[in-house]
Symmetry: C2
């Protein structure tokens, strides 16, 4: 353990655990600050950095990342952690939970050898441009060799981390701690039939008209309206801001400084507006961690799934709801004088919820979205387990697109080359999009039961009771519990697709039956 | 020296100096990247950070600064430096100059004990708010106790750094390496009579009308015009950008990513425009370091005086010149339709060069500016040497304002409390403003002799030959030479106030005699 008398005496006389625990936390707080600094650099890189500054920025971020990593895997961290663990803290206390969290992070960090980290950084740095070019030319064969090398590194990474049933478990665990591949499969098994059933209904219905969303909307007006909306939802602009970026994202530089970004398309209203709500959902999570946990390992997001549950809940369950638009639509009409005067809220609501199988995941509606994720998940598992060859990915992709969505990409650019993730070595990441989506409905379902006034509040455009519930149940616990534990604590049940299926069916059966009934009226108009 | 066989063998078999030198440079390059990262955080803090993010940002910057400092003063740096020094490099080679530079930085860094660094950080962090409040209430007595404590720390700092003639030498050296207090005094002794003589001429002349500059100028138009101008001067927006900030500044995040900022006042045209040119002058210096020096201790600015010489040269010698406005004035009129239609370039040129003794340094004209600096320099030296008591600063300030500028501040807010520097512990910093101003004329004087086509180019609005000369003579040498050496190398002479005095007299005698002659015309209009 390397702990001597002098050490104890110098740091906290008569209290051995204090000294190690405090030392550990001071160390981790410094590392957290360095990681936050790196997040500032990443934000600037995407929002403001001049074109020619890219190489220097990459170097700055690499050094900062390396220094933070070295400080974490340093022997001094291990000594402090082991010393603190030896003090016999109550495992259910905040100290006990902190040590469990740090132990998990530490073990994971030291399992990956430095040469593997560096090989992955090198390979993915090169792969990005290869992917960009392959996508531009829709030339999967140009990407395949790089992809094979990344897969080899991912298999090594999984082996280093350790796994039992499938190597995919080890990678999934990086993004959704404690979640297993079999559980993800079970969630999709529950989800798929319900989605396909809804899709059949949609296919039989007349095409939905979303042209009102494609009229010209002044860009500054879009930004202003979106910011007004998320301010009302609860995003705190004293401790956050919004900027424009090509690929929208949210990054918490600290609980007190959360940056969201949006992309504005003049002729596609949902791009900025729904994007802003989505990112503000991420942002309110980041702003909602317990101030008492500041600087400790308990502060932060527990998983990507939980993060996504917050963005999806606000974007879709709230932001695409009838009560939301009943409240905000008159303001939207006023924001863009003359543009939406001939549209009523009913028609707008249906337009913004249009369901249509499409090629691109990030543009998919609520109903088809999870099918896009499912096919990626299945392909990833098969690739990693060696049951699918890299060369055969386009075929596997297109076959599943036909099966699940009834359409086939005309080229790989709009097929298996569309997402950046694989070129970045992000494997096991896609499922968290669906986990978050599923979880958003499960959480909302629980909030409806815990907060008796919820519906009434939402109808009146009051979002405080919902945000308050999320703060207490989801945000403030931070990183205390594994995702599976936290779902259990909040909902009294395991992860389940059922609330989401119920939500989709309630909502879209109503929309599409109503749509069918309203056809004569539309034809008259 | 702590260098053993195993060490040598492991790093660079058979070449002892290579190993140490390369190790040193790798280490310093990492530290430079961390400092650049901290500069990104500082830029964001002043440009975009939400109000509530201040405490977290301060913590991030403190940790990053501490980590970079610890890496620099680490024994491993000393070992590498001593090892490299032992290799007998030619002191005039790049390697030799690099080692001289690092030795200077290292010795300075290790001379200040950590407890003093921390005491100064603590004291100045508190002092900032004390100063803001004292200035708001114009209550010098409220600032005095804090100022006394900072002075004590500054005296300790000077003693740690070491000095012979006056402790002020040690502090001045931090900002203007190698410059001595006596030299600054001599520069001012040369400068003062010439300025006072000009001021007498100005006082006898009729008041200059600068009201055309106070008409309403569209803010977006001001930004657009300023950016067009500095792009023509040579600021590279592929490797830089401009944002708005309350207190304008320039920060080089890297040679390839230089950020300038500006403040826009609708009813004071020079604020944004001349500010943008000033910061772009700093920025072109940062963009001009030799790419071959990237990541090495030779890349960077040699002193604040040299930095300021670049901003002053572009802002004043170019940006307030007759040839500049002959070229740009028609475009300015077009930028603001109807606003300046009744003004001709001659009148505009005189307005933008109006001389008038005023209370605030940062708003001072070219002629009076250095008197503001002189009085601060004199007060600082007397304070540090204990010849002036903290309590007596307002009296000393006001007496000098009366002597030098003929006006007396009505309150200390517009007197000795106006600048942020003392509350930040920046002592020995003010003289660099005048050193830069003096140097700007000395450099331009030399450029006129070195570049035969210079005047012709400038008249045609071609700035490439001037920028090219500055690149070669001032920018690319980076940190190879001490400021005094570099002036000598460029100009073949020591620092001298003479070219600046000549520049002022040539320019302002012409403006003010012309002004006097034009009075009847103005009365007729």
């Amino acid at each position: 353990m390397g702990v001597g008398y002098a050490d104890e005496g110098a740091m906290a006389p008569g209290n051995r655990s204090m000294s190690h625990y405090d030392d550990l936390l001071r160390r981790l707080s410094d590392i957290q600050r360095l990681n936050q600094a790196n997040a500032v650099l990443g934000w600037d890189q995407q929002c403001y950095m001049p074109h020619g500054g890219g190489a220097a920025r990459a170097a700055q971020m690499a050094v900062l990342g390396r220094v933070a990593h070295e400080m974490f895997v340093d022997d001094a961290t291990r000594t402090a952690l082991e010393g603190a663990e030896g003090a016999g803290e109550d495992p259910t206390s905040d100290r006990g939970l902190t040590l469990r969290r740090v132990r998990r992070d530490y073990d994971q960090a030291v399992k990956i050898p430095t040469d593997l980290v560096e090989a992955m950084l090198r390979e993915t740095a090169l792969a990005h441009d290869v992917w960009v070019e392959a996508r531009a030319k829709s030339d999967y064969a140009a990407f395949a060799p790089t992809f094979s090398r990344i897969l080899d590194l991912l298999r090594r990474q999984a082996d280093c981390l350790g796994w039992k049933d499938t190597p995919y478990d080890a990678l999934l665990d990086l993004y959704e701690p404690g979640m297993r591949t079999a559980q993800v499969r079970a969630l999709f098994d529950d989800l798929k039939p319900g989605i396909l059933e809804l899709l059949a209904i949609v296919r039989d219905a007349p095409a939905m008209d979303d042209s009102p969303l494609r009229r010209g909307f002044d860009e500054a007006g879009q930004i202003a309206f979106g910011e007004m909306v998320v301010r009302k939802l609860g995003f705190d602009f004293q401790h956050g801001r919004q900027d424009r970026a090509v690929h929208p994202f949210c990054t918490g530089l600290d609980r007190t400084d959360v940056r969201i970004t949006t992309r504005v398309e003049r002729e596609w209203l949902p791009c900025a507006l729904m994007g802003t709500i989505h990112e503000a959902g991420h942002g309110m999570y980041e702003q909602g961690f317990d101030p008492a946990d500041d600087g400790t390992p308990l502060s932060g997001s527990i998983s990507l799934g939980f993060h996504e549950s917050q963005s999806r809940l606000w974007e879709n369950i709230i932001g695409r709801s009838r009560f939301f638009w009943n409240h905000f639509f008159p303001g939207l009409q006023r924001q863009f004088p003359g543009v939406l005067d001939d549209i009523d809220v009913h028609r707008f609501y249906r337009a913004i919820n249009k369901v249509e199988p499409s090629l691109i995941r990030v543009e998919a509606d609520e109903v088809t979205y999870n099918l896009h994720v499912l096919l990626r998940f299945e392909i990833e598992v098969e690739l990693l387990e060696g049951r699918l060859a890299v060369a055969d990915v386009p075929e596997a992709w297109n076959a599943r697109m036909r099966d699940y969505l009834g359409i086939v990409p005309p080229d790989d650019a709009r097929g298996c080359l569309q997402d950046v993730h694989w070129s970045a070595g992000l494997f096991g990441y896609f499922p968290t999009y669906s986990i978050g989506t599923i979880l958003s409905a499960q959480l909302f379902d629980r909030a409806e039961r815990d907060v008796p006034t919820l519906h009434e509040d939402l109808v009146r455009g009051e979002y405080g009771s919902l945000l308050g519930w999320l703060r207490t149940k989801v945000h403030r616990p931070g990183r205390r519990y594994e995702p599976t534990e936290l779902v259990e604590r909040i909902c009294g049940a395991a992860f389940s697709s059922k609330p989401y299926i119920r939500y989709l069916h309630d909502k879209y059966r109503e929309i599409y039956f109503a749509e069918r009934r309203s056809v004569p009226r539309r034809a008259d108009a």
